[in-house]
Amino acid sequence: MLASILQNIINALQWGSFYSLIALGYTLVYGVLLLINFAHGDVFMVGAYIAFFVATFLLSFSALPGWGVLALTIPLCMILTALVGVSLERIAYRPLRRKGAHRLYVVITALMCGLVLENGNLALLGASRKAFPELIHKVVFTFGSVTMTNLKIAVILSAFLTFFILQFIVTKTKIGMAMRAISYDKFAVPLMGIPIDTVIVFTFVLGSAFAGLAGLLFALSYPILDPYMGAMIGWKAFIAAVVGGIGDIRGAFLGGFLLGFVEILVVAFFPSTYRDLIAFSILLVILCIKPTGLFGVAQTTKI
């Protein structure tokens, strides 16, 4: 009994790590731009595909061993995915920001960018799913009847590490302070000599890079890639961010694991087709009771 609980906990931690990594990206961008970057889940998908192409390329054209390829793929994937995120910002969001466009228009643009990425992938690469190459040997650790692989541990560790890095950046560095300042008052920030565009680009770099990392880890754990993989996971990660309190990275981090636990619990007791239904229902309930999420701060309008 205890063993199965432990096993479920480990699975939940691993599953939740993906949500956390992606949710952190949503929260960073929302905190700075008050924009829900609906395309973020698809950036994750792009990250997975970039990892696939980089890994396949390196495997075919270099003599590096599996773990060497992985070591190179991680930074390359993160950088390239960050580029994708930044391009989105530059091409789609910045012109609207310049014009002072209504937030509604930016949100619609974000939603549509996501669809373009998904369907563009489907159109360019076709419907056949890609199989991610195996880069490292799976080592299985067994404690009684509880098993975990080195990969699972790596995923969980990455999520925690990412959180601590981001927490450090946001609270202890100058640029992190600038990010927080923008979320309070977008207009005062450039007046204080802070280059708002640079800060925003930096935010997207951070968010997208870690989404790329999540994509790589996901591809390693579940080696079948398809163009719509980002859509559902992106939505769930988004739910996690909102439940935790969008705008606060602690909320995103905890929300990701919370959702992971909920889903693993649901699958343990109900047929798996109910998983999405219950996850979305929980979102609705929480949004009705406490719209700002667990850690979120309510925004009041002055009458």
Binding site: V106, T109, M112, L122, A123, L283, C288
Partner: protein
């Protein structure tokens, strides 16, 4: 006489379409385009009520379409057709003809009640949060249908064609065409009447300044409820008609892509413009059909000019890259859409003579 020119025009249109269809002069493909135009008009104008006039951001319109589609389809099949799960028809199939509008309406009413699901959260949230809630509602509806094996689940549901055949066996007329035209006209008529009354103007007041509206005696919660219910109810009717046109429905066709289509039509036409929604629905339907031909042409041209490798062919999936792209470009360069928030009568004032309600 001028006052009746619009109803007269509509009746003539209906008679002409029916005649063309009956005589076989209008082939089934053209007929299907007209049918889908009607459905799109209903969808886009009903969503415009919430997203345009009321300034909210509802992204899950397809959910209500699904509710209406499934409710009216299952009712019709249960009552009038033979089905694996439901068994023999409960009532003689000859009666299908007379009950069709009732069943359609039932689907609409079911969808209107489903609309309460998103109206209530809208009392306390706005903007981005409502977008999330409506998208979640969309997924919840489709997930629920997938989990209901009695109506086909993920494999879909069919049998509506049998009902239509019973209808045309009783009286030989293209019934689905008639009902689509009638529903489209009724939708436009209803929405027009609603928003031009002082009652309906309360909705615009909410979108422009909700605090002032509340202070000036507008019961904002009740108005939001009415707007959402009217919008989802009409979407439900569109869904019912859609189900009977295709003869087969499955939850996959009522997902976020369908909701996106509705969003494109609303913002393309112009938030708060009924004529805009109608025009954009017509244009959008035509665009989708045109792409069926245009994409292979572009494919041929690109191959001929060596822009594409031989092994790669442009598939219809590019449609789904183009549609979101249109909306992105729209947001960048003309966010107010074709009509902005004006009506045709604002651009062509002489049209005002021809209809009595304004």
């Amino acid at each position: 006489m001028q006052k009746y020119s619009v109803p007269l025009l509509v009746t003539i249109l209906l008679i002409v379409l029916v005649a063309l269809s009956q005589s076989g002069a209008m082939d089934l493909y053209v007929q299907s385009i007209i049918l889908f135009m009607g459905i799109n008009i209903i969808l886009s104008s009903s969503l415009n009520l919430v997203n345009g006039y009321m300034g909210e951001f509802a992204c899950g319109h397809a959910a209500f379409m699904a509710v209406g589609a499934y409710v009216s389809s299952t009712l019709n099949v249960w009552l009038f057709a033979q089905d694996k799960f439901f068994g023999p028809p409960l009532l003689p199939p000859e009666l299908a003809l007379y009950f069709f509008p009732v069943v359609l309406l039932a689907g609409g009413i079911a969808a209107a009640f489903a609309g309460i699901l998103i109206a209530i959260p809208s009392f306390k949230t706005r903007g981005d949060y409502l977008a999330i809630i409506t998208i979640a509602a969309n997924y919840i509806v489709t997930s629920t249908i997938i989990n209901m094996d009695s109506i086909g689940g993920a494999r879909g549901f069919m049998g509506m064609k049998k009902v239509l055949f019973s209808m045309s066996d009783t009286i030989d007329l293209p019934w689905i065409l008639i009902w689509v035209v009638i529903s489209t006209v009724m939708t436009i008529w209803l929405i027009r009447r609603f928003v031009s009354s002082t009652y309906g103007k309360g909705i615009s007041a909410i979108s422009q300044d909700e605090v002032a509206a509340e202070i000036m005696s507008v019961n904002t919660n009740k108005m939001k409820l009415i707007a959402f219910m009217l919008s989802s109810g009409l979407a439900g009717i569109a869904g019912g008609l859609y189900a009977h046109i295709l003869g087969y429905i499955n939850p996959g066709s009522f997902g976020i892509l369908k909701s996106t289509e509705c969003l494109v039509m609303v913002y393309l036409g112009g938030m708060g413009s009924l004529s805009g929604s109608v025009i954009s629905a017509i244009l959008f339907t035509l665009l989708l059909e045109m792409l069926r031909f245009v994409i292979p042409w572009i494919d041929t041209i690109m191959h001929w000019s060596y822009l594409l490798p031989d092994s790669y062919h442009l598939s219809q999936v590019w449609k789904w890259v183009l549609i979101p792209l249109i909306l992105i470009l729209l947001m960048q360069f003309r966010p107010e859409g074709i009509m902005g928030n004006r009506e045709l009568s604002d651009i062509f004032p002489r049209l005002k003579k021809y209809y009595s309600f304004k």
